[in-house]
Amino acid sequence: MGLLESLFPAENFSLIAFILGMPLLGALVNGVWGRRLGKPAVRLMALSAVGASFLAAVVAFVALQHRVEVEGHEHVKLYWTAWQWMHANGGRSVTNVPIDVRFSIDALSGVMMLVVTGVGFLIHLYSTAYMAEDKAFWRFFAYLNLFIFSMLVLILGDNLPVLFIGWEGVGLCSYLLIGFWYDVGANTAAGKKAFIANRVGDFGLLCAMFLLVHYAGALDWTGIQSGANVLADNPAEAYRIHVWPIGGGTYQGIFAFLQPAHPVTISAATAVGLALLLGCTGKSAQIPLYVWLPDAMAGPTPVSALIHAATMVTAGVYLICRLSFVFVLSPFVMATVAVIGVSTALFAATIALVQNDIKKVLAYSTVSQLGFMFLGVGVGAFTSGFFHVFTHAFFKACLFLGAGSVIHAMHARIHDDVQAQDIRNMGGLKKYMPITYWTFLAATCAIAGLPLLSGFFSKDAILFEAFVNHSVNPFAQKLADRHSGAWAPPAMLGPSLYVAGVVAATMTAFYMFRLFFLTFHGDFRGWVIGRAPLAASRAGHGDLEDTADGEEAHDEGKGTHEHEHGADEHGGDHGHHEENLKDPGRAPHESPWQMTVPLIVLAAFSVFAGVLNPAPLTKKLALEHWLAPVFESAIKGTVIAREGAEHLELPLMLGGIGAFVVGSGIAYWMYIAQKGAPAARLAEQAPGLHRLLLDKWRIDELYEATVLSAVDALAETAAAFDQSFVDGILAKLTALVVAAFGTILRTLQNGVVHFYAAVMVVGLAAMGWFFVTPHPDATVTPEGNGDYTLVAGPGIGYGYRWDGDGDGKPDKDVFDGTQQIKLHLEPGKSIVIRLEVMNAFGLTNVRAIPVSRPSAPTMLEVGQN
């Protein structure tokens, strides 16, 4: 330990460079040379990069723990500054905000770092088998390593700009991996959707950064924390943001009716919190920006497990935890976070009830669980919310990898991506893939909230705190003294959140066990299903099928390989669907060890991770104690539990247990006892509702009709303006003028040398004529007070003779060099000056120059005096 500390002091903990550098190295090597290295080398590079990163992360975590023990109850951080990046100018209090590329490990980021590298390593291992047949194997692992790197930058970044780099990096990797099989149009469309939905969120995050620089004068965590209080506790009007009238003006004239009686203002803390929340809803797939996550399932299944379930989508929750001291300053923002969270949890759960695609169910389940995390952090239960991030990473990764294993097995029979993921074609897989079955069962129980499993503890803690906690403005008393009100959440908010959460948890238990029973129990329905519709669709649109065929070769294991081979003999057009319908064919099979080992490890964590924070059972809460320094100062005085909360702990736990029992019980009754008959009956009785749920509440269509069509209309207007005015008039007019001149001048350019010579002679003659004749010319400059100066224009060999007194006769007899004369005029008088010029050839010319002075002094002359 002493060696570790001397090697890596707390202020220069360069082990972070290694943790970050290994995945980046892996991405670089695999991305640049991967194609030539071959699969074994790519596999070795990818696995060793993430594995080494994980081991280093463990060492760093041990070092952190040691320092925590030494320093006691303080917020210990290990820093490493890569380089000084830039300075941001501005802000109300500080004029120079340093922005360094600086990383830090504290209790919060330490846990997150272990989860990302640990789960990341397991999923890398899994992918080596899952993606074994893919021709772009190297590209997949390059992206995956880059993702781990970006995610680590996001977690370990010590200020918002560095976090933002990671934030964008994971967004990029998500986009690249969703559209990994880019030859299918739907995949690339899903990738773009994810990317663009995240852009909307990034807008919020950027605004939050600008506001923080402006008001708090800092962007690093320590600086924001120490400067955060001015966001809410500042009497100056400048620290309130005018929402209406926008920017704080007044509406006048015909807009006077828009002027409210009292201007609507929010505190800077609320503005920062809402902007941050927008960013978090984008990344963590919450209402209103959740729509990209279900579509993101177009990517390979390990990607769904790693990025779209375990790590990246929890970044929003991580950011809220990280900036908890900003969020708690505004009870309004806290309530908004909680309400958005619980609404998303409920809403996504209703959709998951009826979906038939195994990955879609898990995707909506992820959205729903993220909603639970938002609910947790929104009620000030930062530890519980983060605990749910932690447990969710294990059981959801396990579920997705289990689903991948199932899809892998189904592909052996059904060579169609959509059909192979449809749970109506599965059933009875317990017999064929026991390891997948048992691990999936463990993870399902965990997410559904079987008591004593990890999901039960994390979800229960969130529900409990949702009921008992309420946020208060820490400066409520001060604000009241200043006669400006502080928003307080309604008293019924907590119980309402609790009830909604329990309902969502019940639905979670139901849809997860529905998925589980339909997939693994009963009889295998895939023997015949999947061929007839396939044959029909082949006849309909052969092109589409062909793409799907080419694509499915990517993500299959050995099973397909032989099939592809056989198909080729028939000629590519036929594909491999000419199977004998009576022949039961190849049975689904268990996956290779690279896939089952991660499943077993993750299942074990899903079951046992709860011991870290078994909230209602014991007071020895390891995780809460560990994270206390991070959140303690934030929640002190801002998040208040109602009286007698400790007595409510056990009664409220009944809600969570009840949710599990009811949800899983209904699922058992419907799909095992009654073999799915009640579900079919329900769907028949309420076909409209069923259809609506199946279509995901048609939110995509709603967005299509409102936001997207508005943007499209704007774009079309701009395009029409561009085509009609800019292209049609401006560009064509310019071109026309140039063309007209060209047409005229082209006739002169006739290529006959003599014509050119003649033009030259004419030009020379004209110039000669100009130089031979004298040009008398003079400028008159009024000097004020009736004084005028006349200056004759110069010329070669010119002599001048003036008639300065206006008598019509020259003042002198000879021409000389008098280039300038002065004269004086009384007001209202005028005079005609004559200038004679003689040039070197003896030719003379004369010019009359009238000069007059206005009778009354003008403004101009007054000014000049």
Partner: protein, 101 residues
């Protein structure tokens, strides 16, 4: 001694003959010769001026420079005529219209 005006008259006459010859003749060789005539007309006037103001021999200096420039000009001009003849098999300037259009 012949007054300087006479030299200048001769120079102007030669210059005009050369200019008209350059403008009206289509044969490039003749055009070149016309240019020579014009340049030598200038030379005559320069030498005449030198006789009028002999102090610095400025006129003679200019005349020598001009002769050197003429030699260079003729060398380049004849080279152009040669390559024109190789390409077009003609020395008529009105047929040398490769750049037209």
């Amino acid at each position: 001694m012949i007054p300087v005006q006479h030299y200048l008259y001769l120079s102007a006459l030669l210059f005009t003959i050369g200019g008209v010859g350059f403008l009206v003749r289509r044969n490039v060789l003749v055009a070149l010769m016309s240019i020579e005539v014009m340049l030598n007309a200038v030379n005559i006037s320069l030498v005449a001026f030198n006789r009028m103001r002999p102090e610095n021999h400025g006129g003679q200096m200019f005349a020598f420079f001009l002769i050197a420039a003429e030699a260079a000009e003729v060398a380049v001009g004849l080279a152009i005529v040669l390559s024109l003849f190789r390409i077009k098999r003609t020395v008529r300037s009105d047929e040398a219209d490769l750049l037209k259009n």
